[in-house]
Subunit: 334 residues, 2 copies
């Protein structure tokens, strides 16, 4: 199996991207196609040393910066790591594509070049949301803003396929994110999606557990949480913002007097364990589901462990054949 | 000034509701009309003792439970504390109404009996969101799910009026909650509301600071954050859920070994300060804006301090005449 990796994706590119790829090649028995400027990548590989045979370079001459307009950048920079990386999958040179780069540009490139799977209304971006009891897949977190009920229904079905394959859950619990638990809650689209998913549940096609409130997102009451990309993005980002704020606030209050500081030092292993439980790097990136190719997009601030885990997840998605499952199992019913 | 207080609102009713009302009467020079079963309230007042002269009781015989359907309950239980409480404002027996009870039933009763202010598309529920740098008003947090752009525009204008009056900010910063900071982000309604608010800003009618991402909600980049009630509810509840989860996780990890436990004990003042900074009880309830009356709805789990603060906020809203300001300043333009 060969996986194309955007070597110029992360904020600290290409260091974590290349190191993560090398470690993945060593650990997971995959070949890697590093997409980026040849000289810069080679320099990084020389630093690492002992590079496995399965590491290849695909040279490109352009780079898409974080502040560029996604669609324009993808249209104009045909020799960027993002466009060329996606095309490696399209052309059959790679089985999957992994990038820590510009989310919007990655979405645009993947949707434009790989195109939607036939019968899929809209590809969606999932994100594994860490909770103390394990991760939940929140889908969509930003690929689609105004969503029709049937799109949400498909997000649920694709999320189920992904979580089954990657987390190994046989009957993942699927919920709709809403403003209340009762069936009648939700905006118009969510209420209609609710009815569609209930029908799927009756046909035993999904383990639909109903509506879930925002307060229950960290309680792991579902393995797949479905939302439109506008709402999912706001829920995900708000959660990240609150966690960051609380962390900073506790640390600054602890530093405000010597006794608290001592206390904080003694409690550090506990803090670190909490940090590890909620560490997104463990889960390795967000899948773009519904395009003709395995695409995993990670955080810009990823370190090499996150890159390595994203490659592991991509490999697993290829091995478990999620594309075929989506092609055969998620297409709209007559 | 006389304020009607739902004596049967909070989860621990009527204890915190009655005590909070008595303390408010003592501290804020307001008369209170306690709405609830006379005997039960009198019993509570006797326990408290030394009851100020300005405390009155308005007897009712029915109660709306938390699990009742809002509109049905309000229609059927005409002698409940919620329906009678709202009517005290309508009939001019009270200047404002405060309740820690069933949010949906309070919304339904207030909108049905007090009705919308002329020119207001939809009343909206605001919630003061605590951050380390002070509170932001998130509006709407649940009164309206699918919102038109002009509704969002009015939520922004009403939020501005409220924050000016209650927090005393002259030029509050107003933002739209979105899936990115750029002007082009947002779902359809948010994008159109963005354009409307930009026009208002050009006319110097609002200090519109543009789109705000979920991650910046706790960063206090705006004093008023506008969302439809579906999105606002999910953002607010997700934030509450994450804060609760982190708090529990840190506490349980700290308890997992003796050194961490000692550390946790030493750092306790820091934890308590964090808790106080983020304490919703300080801010006293959520205003329902856009109806013909001052209505403040609080959390079911409110203690007497939260009830007292909600009464203080109601008093301030009456004194600063927010109804007239909304009537004269927020009506749609020709």
């Amino acid at each position: 199996m060969k996986i194309a990796v955007d070597a110029m994706g992360s904020d600290a590119r290409p260091v974590p991207d290349v190191l993560g790829a090398v470690e993945a090649a060593r650990e997971y028995d995959v070949e890697i196609l590093l997409v980026g400027p040849q000289a810069r990548i080679q320099q990084e590989l020389d630093k690492i040393g002992n590079v496995p045979a399965g590491i290849h370079i695909c040279n490109v001459t352009q780079e898409i910066a974080m502040n560029e307009h996604p669609a324009n950048a993808v249209r104009e920079k045909k020799d960027s790591s993002i466009v060329v990386g996606v095309q490696q999958v399209k052309q059959g040179n790679a089985d999957a594509y992994v990038s820590m780069g510009h989310t919007g540009a990655n979405l645009a490139a993947a949707i434009f070049h790989l195109q939607r799977i036939k019968g899929i209304h809209r590809p969606a971006l999932g994100a594994l949301f860490p909770t103390p009891k394990g991760p939940s897949l929140l889908i969509d977190v930003g690929a689609n803003t105004d969503c029709k009920p049937e799109w949400l229904e498909q997000f649920a079905m694709m999320g189920q396929v992904y979580v089954r394959a990657v987390l190994g859950l046989e009957k993942p619990r699927v919920a709709l994110l809403a403003n209340g638990e009762e069936d009648i809650k939700g905006n118009q689209a969510v209420q209609e999606a609710h009815a569609l998913l209930k029908q799927r549940a009756v046909r035993n096609e999904i383990n639909f557990v109903g509506n879930m409130e925002g307060k229950d997102v960290p309680a792991h009451l579902a393995d797949v949480i479905v939302a439109d990309g506008f709402v999912g993005n706001i829920a995900l980002k708000t959660a990240e913002g609150i966690a960051k704020m609380l962390n900073e606030l506790i640390r600054s209050e602890i530093k405000s007097n010597p006794l608290s500081m001592l206390g904080g030092a003694l409690a550090m292993p506990a803090f670190n364990k909490v940090k590890k439980i909620l560490d997104y790097t463990e889960y390795g990136g967000a899948p773009l589901l519904g395009v003709n190719g395995v695409v995993i997009i990670g955080h810009g601030r990823s370190n090499h462990v996150a890159v390595k885990n994203a490659i592991r997840v991509a490999k697993r998605a290829v091995e478990t054949n999620i594309l075929e499952t989506i092609r055969n199992g998620v297409a709209p019913r007559e």
